[in-house]
Amino acid sequence: MSVMSIAEQPHAVSPEFTRQPLGKVGMWWFLASEIMVFGGLIGSYILSRIAAGGWVAERAHVNTRLAVINTLVLLTSSLTVVEAHAAVDAGEQKRTRMFLLCTVLLGCMFLGIKGFEYSGEIEHGLTPASGLFWSFYYTMTGLHGLHVLAGIVVNFCLFIAAGGRGWKTIQHRVEYAGLYWHFVDVVWIFLFPLLYLA
């Protein structure tokens, strides 16, 4: 089989068709697949909750106060990551590094608070085996937490890369990492009322 030249490539993957860098198209595709992952999980939770009659007693045991703090932390990290992108576009290396570091620290704070929350719940005997609500709770918040962890690793790598001489080459990567981070934030925006308020 002969190797396809760029001119022969299907139009669907050519920048002329997408009008975007291919890395960005890849990120949008990834986020589309993530919508199905979290959408399926959230959909199953809603249906199971309706079928089980509301899980009012179970929901009373979650720590809403800590969840509110975590929501504020994650929303603030969305601000810092978008400011990091604005800074890298403006060619301001110091600001880019500062905002990337803030994003990493806020992500760590989110996971720390979540870990503290988990420990309190487990101490009270509320584990994934305690019932369907708790299975969903740990699965959804755990999967979301893993996404936050992945975002922390990526942003930390960018923070390191932003300290080097060729730091301007990371411009697109900061943008893609930002898109991912905002998506993780949007997922939490819906997990918060589903698990703690409604």
Binding site: L47, S78, L79, D185
Partner: protein, 93 residues
């Protein structure tokens, strides 16, 4: 995201997001029925999500292809709940 200057400052959006968090939690203190409270809570959550998607992810500046890429799985996820809902409703009767 593009390097275009935002129409509203990112900090202003952040302040709105914080106010909406307060509004969402505040709904719990309003003496309304459970159904109305749930509707209000999810309306507030949707507004927050739209603010992040529109102003931080800059979706407004993306080509139609991105809307299709994100919209189709979103519709499928919503359809998943809607098509299974009658089964749950009949079982509860």
């Amino acid at each position: 995201m593009s390097a275009d200057k935002p129409s509203v400052s990112y900090v202003t959006i952040w302040v709105w997001l914080l106010l909406l968090v307060a509004a969402g939690v505040g709904v719990l203190g309003i003496p309304v029925s459970k159904a109305v409270a749930v509707m209000l809570i999810f309306s507030v959550a949707t507004v927050k999500a739209v603010l992040v998607i529109r102003h931080y992810m800059h979706v407004r500046q993306q080509p139609l292809m991105v809307y299709a890429m994100l919209g189709i799985p979103l519709l499928l996820a919503i359809a998943l709940v809607l098509v299974l809902m009658p089964d749950i409703a009949f079982r509860l009767r």
